[in-house]
Amino acid sequence: MKALQNLFDSIKPNFEKGGKWEKFHTLYEGHRTIAFAPDLTTKAKGAQIKDATDLKRVMITVVIAMVPALLFGILNIGHQHFMATGEAATWIDKAVFGAISVLPILIVSYAVGLLTEFTFCVIRNHPISEGYLVTGMLIALVMPPYIPLWQVALATIFAVVIGKEVFGGTGMNILNVAMTARAFLYFAYPAQISGDQVWTYLADKTAVDGYSGATALAVAYNAGVEGVDAGQALAQHNASIGADFSFMNMFMGWIPGSIGETSTLMALIGAVILIGTGVASWKIIVSGFGGAYVMGLVMNLFAANEFMAMAPHLHLVMGGLAFGVVFMATDPVSASQTETGKWIYGFLIGALTIIIRVTNPAYPEGIMLAVLLMNVFAPLIDYYVVKANKTRRLQRATV
């Protein structure tokens, strides 16, 4: 490692004040601190020792928590493809096929996002932050497998610039950056990110007879429109080729959908990692699922159509709810930051997701809008929690 250290030392003068690449100082520091934890020491006054955990480690924890979802996503893309085309394939074939369609999206997301981030760091002369490690992965995981790469690049640039950098960079953003990317595509290029055709990557093959690429949400919604039992419609969907929307299938994630969102199980594994390491707030995750379940029950009470009458536990495994609650809602920067606020914030995300799903025909998936909406309202929730704290202090003074 001495050699690498020497290499860094040898190019260092170029990046120092007066050096020829002075402007790119922050890039130099950024890369050096990734290779080597920096040799900074505590100040003469104040805490003389510091905790061994830094933001890089926190961020990499989130990335690792998403790896199960990514790996499963890759496998599932292949699985869905071969099932739809009716070809026989081994798991290795499926994994290879999935990797070929997913990895370019992941690479584009990271490459374009980091480039945008670096550009801003150089212009604004602030240190490169670790935030994009997580965002880059999230953006890839919420894309449909069929998405054109230029759209991924465009959405990434939009999200990093408008979602984050204009507010001052990591830690200052109001909206979840990855959700901003997805929402951008959703409204700018709806053809590639909604409907029945985009969730299964067929390549140049054609689907077998009777195969429908619809998502579970679309199936359930149509059941509501047509007045057939939603639970049954889900169970019968594509049943002939073994790709039905039974609770178990949806829980495991062998269904069409965005790359990382289909498997509730993988999201839960991620949740276990995030909660076990204390990186994400368990309050948001628990109240998020709770909110969705409770709102599912409330919908049952009205039961104006069959979708509303659907058993609420099905809501928990459909669409991107689990993925969104575990990985998106818990983003500490855009979430509520008070402990009481986290309960309210998570609950409302879950509840709003179901409301949007069930009542709004234009947006079958509610989690994206629910998270963004609650990102906007999180400061308001916190405002009242903080106000309560101030009031307690004031009352104490007057007693």
Partner: protein, 450 residues
């Protein structure tokens, strides 16, 4: 009504380098220093002595023009060898070459049963012990013109490697009690003595008279007087309370009973890099050279006056701080570590459990150096500070209010209740590596002076 309070939030930092409860001998220091920088809130210090003057223990050597009644006195007798000033003539140190035998200024014994409050205040202010009395809010030296609502003494220290106060004050029971008695005369309210509820504790504290005894238990910062006040009778806007640490109480008692300023105290030498650790009898402001030089296990070290959370880096030839009862020596951490942010480890101390940070599995002691383990970042992770601050305060919002210099918010969010030491743990655990103690002081200065 004495109270028992159990605290759950907090974090005990378990370090290598604890000292056994035994006295160790070292050659006494030759030079001593009074460092005006130790005294928070000092505004315009005026030096009363010149280089070459001889002083006795208890001779005033400077005072603050903003609070002329309070005199800062020499801890030992001897010759003033240097009045050290820094940039803009800022007064840094007044050094004294000590006599072999300490000669004391006769300040006169104090008969607490006869003396009135005003005279007592004046005697304490002239006698060099007044700076031990700290005012809350703001954590500055108390103004003799004020009368506090109550006085609080925390009889135990929960900081890492901190001294056992009962051991430090062994044999000084009479002084300690006399000090408490003097304090009761300073307030019409109560004097609270807060003792450790986790231990049987020394009779020195539990048998103390004329005071309200409260018990606190739980992890650090249960021993911080600010935390204790918050749970007994929180400070509101307009309130004024005083705090004294137990060593200060004993020094006040010595002045009362003996009529002299005796700055001798027992401190603890700790830290992983010291070979010979233990308790040593010294005098406030002592040079630390004799305790450290030749007593080291390695070469590249940091000497800290005080503990690792709130102390101050001093040189090997530096001096013990006025308020410090501890010297800690730990390794300096100015090294790079390959993929140090990613490597799994059980040997690096962390409050967090992020991937690979497995120190929670390690129940042993940790050897910690001064490396920051990362660069400064904006606040990202939420909910961490709340876990180590056992008060009904929202630290993240308070810090943001200070950053924004929003006076109303600072006030309403509880800046009157905390000083640096209360957020020291927040500063330690912060993954974004912000200097929160410095931030809190800057906020307090905004509230005080503008």
């Amino acid at each position: 009504m004495s109270k028992t309070v159990k605290l759950r939030k907090g974090f005990d930092i378990n370090l290598v380098g604890k000292a056994a409860k035994e006295m160790v001998e070292f050659a006494p220091a030759q030079t001593f220093a009074v460092k005006p920088t130790d005294f928070v809130g000092l505004q315009r210090p005026k030096v009363l002595v010149n280089e070459g003057d001889t002083v006795k223990a208890g001779t005033p050597i400077f005072f603050d023009k903003a609070m002329e009644q309070v005199k800062f006195v020499a801890p030992v007798s001897g010759e003033i060898i240097e009045v050290k000033r820094g940039e803009k003539r800022k007064l840094l140190e007044i050094r004294i070459l000590a006599d072999k035998e300490v000669a004391y200024e006769d300040l006169g014994k104090i008969d607490l049963s006869k003396i009135d409050r005003e005279t007592l205040v004046d005697r304490l202010a002239q006698g060099g012990v007044w700076p031990h009395i700290i005012q809350r809010p703001f954590g500055v030296i108390a103004n003799p013109a004020d009368e506090p609502k109550a006085i609080y003494v925390s009889a135990f220290d929960t900081n890492p490697l901190s001294p056992d106060m009962a051991f430090v004050l062994q044999g000084q029971e009479a002084y300690f009690q006399a000090g408490l008695d003097a304090l009761t005369k300073l307030t019409s309210g109560k004097v609270h003595l807060n003792i450790n509820g986790d231990e049987q504790g020394s009779s020195l504290f539990s048998q103390a008279k004329n005071v309200e005894i409260n018990r606190f238990s739980g992890p650090h910062p249960a021993g911080n007087v600010g935390v204790q006040i918050h749970h007994l009778d929180p400070i509101n806007k307009g309130d004024l309370v005083w705090t004294v640490n137990p060593v200060g109480v004993a020094q006040i008692g010595k002045l009362v009973l003996e009529g002299k300023y005796d700055a001798s105290k027992v401190i603890v030498l700790t830290g992983s890099e010291l070979s010979k650790r233990g308790y040593v009898k010294t005098i406030s402001g002592s040079a630390v050279t004799n305790y450290v030089k030749g007593n080291l296990q390695s070469g590249h070290i940091r000497v800290i006056s005080g503990n690792v959370l709130t102390g101050e880096k001093i040189s090997m030839e530096g001096y013990l701080g006025y308020y410090h009862n501890q010297i800690t020596v730990i390794p300096e951490g100015d090294y790079e570590e390959f993929l140090g942010w990613l490597k799994p480890t059980t040997s690096k101390l962390s409050f967090h459990k992020a991937i690979g940070m497995l120190s929670f599995l390690n129940k042993g002691e940790f050897k910690v150096d001064t490396n920051t383990h990362g660069e400064e970042r904006p606040f990202v992770v939420s909910g961490v500070f709340e876990k180590v601050l056992p008060m009904d305060i929202l630290p993240t919002y308070l810090f943001k209010a200070i950053h924004a210099e929003d006076f109303d918010e600072m006030e309403q969010l509880g800046l009157y209740e905390i000083i640096e030491e209360d957020v020291a743990l927040c500063e330690f655990v912060d993954p974004s590596k912000n200097d929160l103690q410095e931030l809190v002081r800057s906020g307090i200065e905004l509230l005080m002076y503008s």
